[in-house]
């Protein structure tokens, strides 16, 4: 197994100088960072941290080419933030970034949760965890809501076994895979303090802030655009109101809540068209979300979002 394809030929003399700008362009890292800027709205601190990480890795790679460093840096990361703040999306980009820089060989992302790692009976956990690890080799293993692995109130919980295997692989196979753990900030903190092994093996902690209302509005517009829908002016205002109200209600999940709201708005729009239209419809009518489609949401009457879809369908 070659662990360093980027340290170059052992027979070749190390280069005397390195052009970081050229490296930056040729490695394709720039594209990924641009993509990140273009596709993700907001998330300033996250983008900043990723830029810094990319710079660090680029410099590290150059140092290795010149023979100044030999160790693979620890690349395991933790992404903390509320649901729907783009952790999985960024992890996907991170996998691409690490692949371009040559820190992982294949650059695929394997996304798992507790259920994929922890077994149901004695002797079930180890093979299950190993199975996932084998699939993640050469790429990035993304463990969503990692703190569920550790359940302190049940000492016979099999999560501990998965944690031990993970720690071992994170230490021994640093060349082969990068582990990203994600979850709510406070729960992750508790998880790390109960498992100091993880804390010391994770080099990069990246925090994902909540989106602001204006960012969420822009996100909603981009989401609609991607599906060839658009708001009319009133609907846009209604959406802004919706975001303000929705944030105050329970189970708010940032961009994910927005996506769900839009899905339901589309459902209402389809129903409205179906019931009100008696002539031919043009493309604009088919792709415009109006104020009524948004205002019908239960969020405006202060209710929970449970079975809103069903209600909307019944309307």
């Amino acid at each position: 197994m070659t662990d360093d394809q980027h340290t170059g030929d052992p027979g070749k003399a190390p280069p005397a100088s390195v052009d970081l700008k050229a490296e930056f362009r040729s490695s394709g890292v720039a594209e990924i960072l641009d993509e990140l800027d273009r596709e993700l709205i907001g998330l300033k601190p996250v983008k900043q941290r990723i830029r810094e990480t990319a710079a660090l890795l680029l410099v590290d790679r150059a140092r290795r080419q010149m023979g100044l460093a030999t160790e693979t840096p620890t690349l395991h990361m933790s992404f903390t933030g509320n649901p729907g703040t783009g952790k999985t999306t960024v992890a996907l980009k991170m996998a691409g970034l690490l692949h371009r820089l040559g820190y992982v060989r294949k650059g695929h992302l394997v996304s798992v949760t507790r259920d994929d790692l922890v077994g149901q009976y004695i002797g079930h956990t180890a093979p299950k965890t190993r199975e996932v690890l084998k699939k993640a080799m050469g790429g990035v293993l993304f463990i969503d809501e990692a703190y569920y692995l550790y359940k302190p109130d049940n000492e016979r919980d099999y999560g501990q076994e998965a944690i031990e295997i993970l720690l071992q692989v994170m230490e021994n196979n640093r060349d082969d895979l990068v582990v990203i753990m994600a979850g709510y900030a406070d729960k992750m903190d508790r998880f790390f303090s109960a498992n100091p092994g993880f804390r010391s093996r994770i080099a990069h902690h990246i925090e994902f802030p909540d989106y602001s209302d204006s960012e969420l509005l822009r996100i909603s517009e981009t989401m609609l655009e991607a599906q060839n829908y658009r708001f009319d002016t009133d609907a846009r205002r209604a959406m802004a109101d919706y975001i303000g109200l929705r944030r105050a209600q329970p189970h708010f999940a940032n961009a994910r809540s927005i996506r769900n709201a839009l899905d339901r708005a589309r459902l209402r729009q389809a129903n409205r068209l179906f019931e009100s239209a008696d002539g031919p419809l043009d493309a604009a009518a088919l792709s415009t979300i109006t104020e009524a489609d948004i205002r019908a949401s239960r969020v405006f009457s202060g209710g929970l979002d449970v079975d809103r879809a069903a209600r909307a369908a019944a309307e």
């Binding site: 197994m1 070659t2 060989r105 294949k106 695929h108 093979p127 190993r130 690890l133 084998k134 699939k135 080799m137 050469g138 790429g139 196979n173 082969d176 895979l177």
Partner: protein, 129 residues
């Protein structure tokens, strides 16, 4: 006596690096990799013991090498081979199979002649410990 079965068996034993490279090739063709071991190298013994389940959906050879290392730990004194299975409609068969581990001292295989009806002979092989 050196057993020659499967691919590469007339070559010197593959190094781990070479095995990885071969597995990378198999994975690039989207074949499933299985590890099998046996202590009976008789050519007619097609049923070797499976080491775990065949591995699907791997992206990198390292995953297989991990299993191979585990298998060597337990069965280092036996034959271990790697099979690559193609599930493509029309093939659905093992496309590549090669030995990756041999016992330090390989058993001898003797030929046995048996007289049968009217001086004709039948030949068979016997693994002599």
């Amino acid at each position: 006596m050196r057993i020659t079965q499967g691919c590469f068996s007339f070559l010197p034993d593959l190094t781990d690096e070479q095995i990885s490279a071969q597995i990378e090739y198999c994975l690039s063709r989207e074949w499933a990799i299985g590890i099998e071991f046996t202590d009976d190298p008789h050519p007619r013994n097609t049923y070797w013991e499976m080491w775990g389940n065949p591995m699907f959906d791997l992206k990198d050879a390292k995953g297989v090498m991990m299993e191979l290392d585990e298998c060597r730990k337990l069965h280092g004194g036996k034959y271990i081979r790697i099979n690559a299975f193609d599930d493509m409609r029309g093939f659905e068969t093992v496309m590549m199979s090669f030995i990756v581990n041999r016992p330090a001292e390989e058993p001898r295989i003797d030929m046995v002649r048996t007289d049968v009806r009217s001086r004709s002979q039948s030949y068979s092989w016997r693994v002599a410990g």
